[in-house]
């Protein structure tokens, strides 16, 4: 982990309201694993007050990418940055998706903007395993497509792909294709992660999910980001240190 003042190389609205920001960092591009995140101070003002955590969405040589929805104080300021502006970044942080040798089939499940870490993960996995990517959202235009492989879509309102949620689509794929994934990698809103976790636990499928919560420091100083474990010795673990990717069997759902 380092604190770096990196140069912005590109800001692109690749889908309505959804942006990809690319910056240059040898250090981060060399030292990051899929699922790790960055803690970014959008500017020196107090608005927003805290840093904002972003998953590393991809690495391309010496360039690092994040993707985000310009919804709030921090992200709205980011899209008004210029090329070559400096950005104050701490990273890479936390633990990424665990990959075990000889994984044959992996399901990558992402909900809404939760897909952020999947491009990087896909790139890492694509020559090693069989990938099935499942994207879910409330409606078609909330599905985010970015450097993903072999993907199917589920929408709550049926405007695209499977009419239903990602868990049901996963079940459908499993039964139709007659495959069982060795591992599920999931990211997205917490309720979706819990549903996936329940499904994985019931079916004894290894499952790693990337959890989100408000963070202040992102590096274990503030104890502000607890997540409850099934751990009689230590009830709360820190999302920023143990996570953001944590095996779902450890989590108290």
């Amino acid at each position: 982990m380092k604190q770096e003042f990196v140069k912005i190389q590109k800001i692109e609205e690749f889908q309505s309201g959804i942006f990809e920001l690319t910056f240059a960092s040898k250090y981060i591009s060399k030292n990051s694993k899929p699922g790790q995140f960055l803690n970014i101070r959008v500017d020196n003002s107090y608005q927003p007050f805290l840093r904002r955590p972003f998953s590393i969405s991809n690495i391309d040589e010496d360039s690092v990418k994040i993707i985000f929805n310009a919804i709030g104080q921090g992200t709205k300021k980011l899209i008004h940055k210029n090329i070559n502006d400096e950005l104050d970044v701490i990273g890479p942080l936390g633990n990424g998706f665990k990959y075990e040798e000889n994984t044959k089939t992996a399901f990558l499940i992402g909900g809404g903007l939760g897909i952020a870490p999947l491009p990087f993960l896909s790139k890492f996995l694509k020559d090693k395993t069989n990938i099935f990517t499942i994207l879910g959202a409330r409606t078609s235009n909330q599905i985010i497509r970015k450097d993903l492989f072999n993907f199917s879509v589920a929408t709550d309102d049926g405007t695209e792909g499977f009419h239903g949620n990602v868990v049901d689509l996963a079940k459908k794929i499993i039964s139709e294709k007659n495959i069982t994934p060795d591992v599920i990698y999931a990211c997205g809103p917490t309720p979706m992660l819990k549903a996936i976790a329940n499904f994985a636990n019931q079916n004894n499928i290894k499952c790693f999910a990337s959890w989100e919560c408000e963070m202040a420091c992102g590096i274990g100083l503030c104890q502000g980001c607890p997540i409850e474990f099934n751990d009689s010795n230590k009830k709360y673990h820190l999302v920023c240190k143990e996570g953001p990717v944590i095996e779902t069997s450890k989590i108290k759902l």
């Binding site: 604190q3 107090y46 608005q47 927003p48 007050f49 100083l221 104890q223 607890p226």
Partner: protein, 315 residues
């Protein structure tokens, strides 16, 4: 070089007056990749209780205008693990370590202190008095003059190392507590801990913290903290360590001018873990520009008509 950049509490010499506040810098080891902790005058470690504490359920933090609310519940590793896992790391540090202690009874404060006292790695103790007194229905020790006095007295008996009492600002007259601290032999007071605040998620209609209310920190509280420091420095002669919303060297200098002997950086460490270094540099440049060659000429140099202070005037 500026004179008296360092100062002493009892026989402990602090190389400078810029500390980092309890709960905002962990145990000093989390940030070693990012900052040179040896540049700091001291690290006040996260409040320690006798037993490890899980802390409060999530959500524990939330952002506010120019600040944040927290309700961590003093999640900490407990004194035993601190001794076995953290104290050994302190050996290699040049900065001083101040162990901050939290407890829910007078006895617990004393026991934790006694367990830590033998370790040379601990330079001094800071007593966090913003803890609920379980025997008094959970009201904070630091808001009650009597329990404040008892704790001040009892901890003093247990150590000859410097004792710093950390005051809560959530009282009518903080100087009353400062005076007790002085009378009971505290070597310094830390002013202040967080202010009780709250925030609501209007869509869920729930508090944004699991414990409903929490502690406000950050630049939002700086004017309030400064006024508390002002009240204390005018009430007591023991050193006052200023805390609250300090994020820039200008902020730190305001506290020194008002009369703080040292300052602690809290929440600003989350914005930038290297805030301490920036503040040290900024102060040294300021002193040079302003031709201040002795820190003691800065501390308490406020020129003001103190009789006009708000306690006696109409707002």
């Amino acid at each position: 070089m500026i004179k008296n950049e360092s100062f002493k509490l009892r026989d402990v010499n602090f190389a400078n007056r810029i500390f980092v506040a309890s709960g905002t810098f962990g145990y000093g080891d989390e940030v070693s990749d990012l900052v040179d902790v040896n540049k700091l005058g001291a690290i006040v470690t996260k409040s320690l209780s006798l037993k490890p504490r899980d802390g409060n359920p999530p959500p524990r933090i939330t952002e506010t205008s120019c600040g944040m609310l927290n309700s961590i519940g003093l999640a900490n590793i407990g004194v035993e693990k601190y001794i076995s896992e953290k104290i050994p790391n302190f050996k290699n540090l040049k900065t001083k370590i101040i162990a901050n202690i939290a407890a829910s009874s007078v006895e617990e404060y004393c026991t934790v202190l006694e367990k830590l006292n033998p370790f040379d790695e601990i330079a001094a103790f800071e007593i966090n008095l913003s803890c609920p007194n379980v025997k008094e229905g959970g009201l904070s020790f630091g808001t009650n003059l009597k329990s404040f006095e008892i704790i001040s007295r009892e901890v003093r008996k247990k150590t000859s190392k410097p004792i710093i009492l950390k005051l809560t600002p959530n009282v009518t007259h903080i100087s009353e507590f400062a005076k007790i601290a002085e009378n009971e032999g505290a070597d310094a007071i830390s002013v202040v801990n967080t202010f009780v605040g709250m925030a609501v998620n209007i869509y869920k209609r729930t508090p944004k913290l699991s414990t409903v209310t929490g502690g406000l920190s950050g630049p939002a509280i700086k004017p309030l903290a400064l006024a508390k420091v002002y009240e204390c420095v005018r009430a007591v002669k023991i050193p006052v360590i200023g805390i609250g919303g300090i994020a820039s060297w200008e902020d730190a200098i305001e506290f020194f001018i008002v009369g703080a002997t040292a300052i602690q950086i809290g929440t600003a460490n989350y914005l930038n873990p290297a805030t301490g270094e920036f503040i040290l540099k900024g102060i040294s440049d300021f002193c040079e520009n302003q031709k201040i060659d002795d820190f003691n000429n800065l501390i308490g140099s406020l020129s003001a008509d103190h009789s006009a202070s708000v306690l006696k005037t109409w707002l």
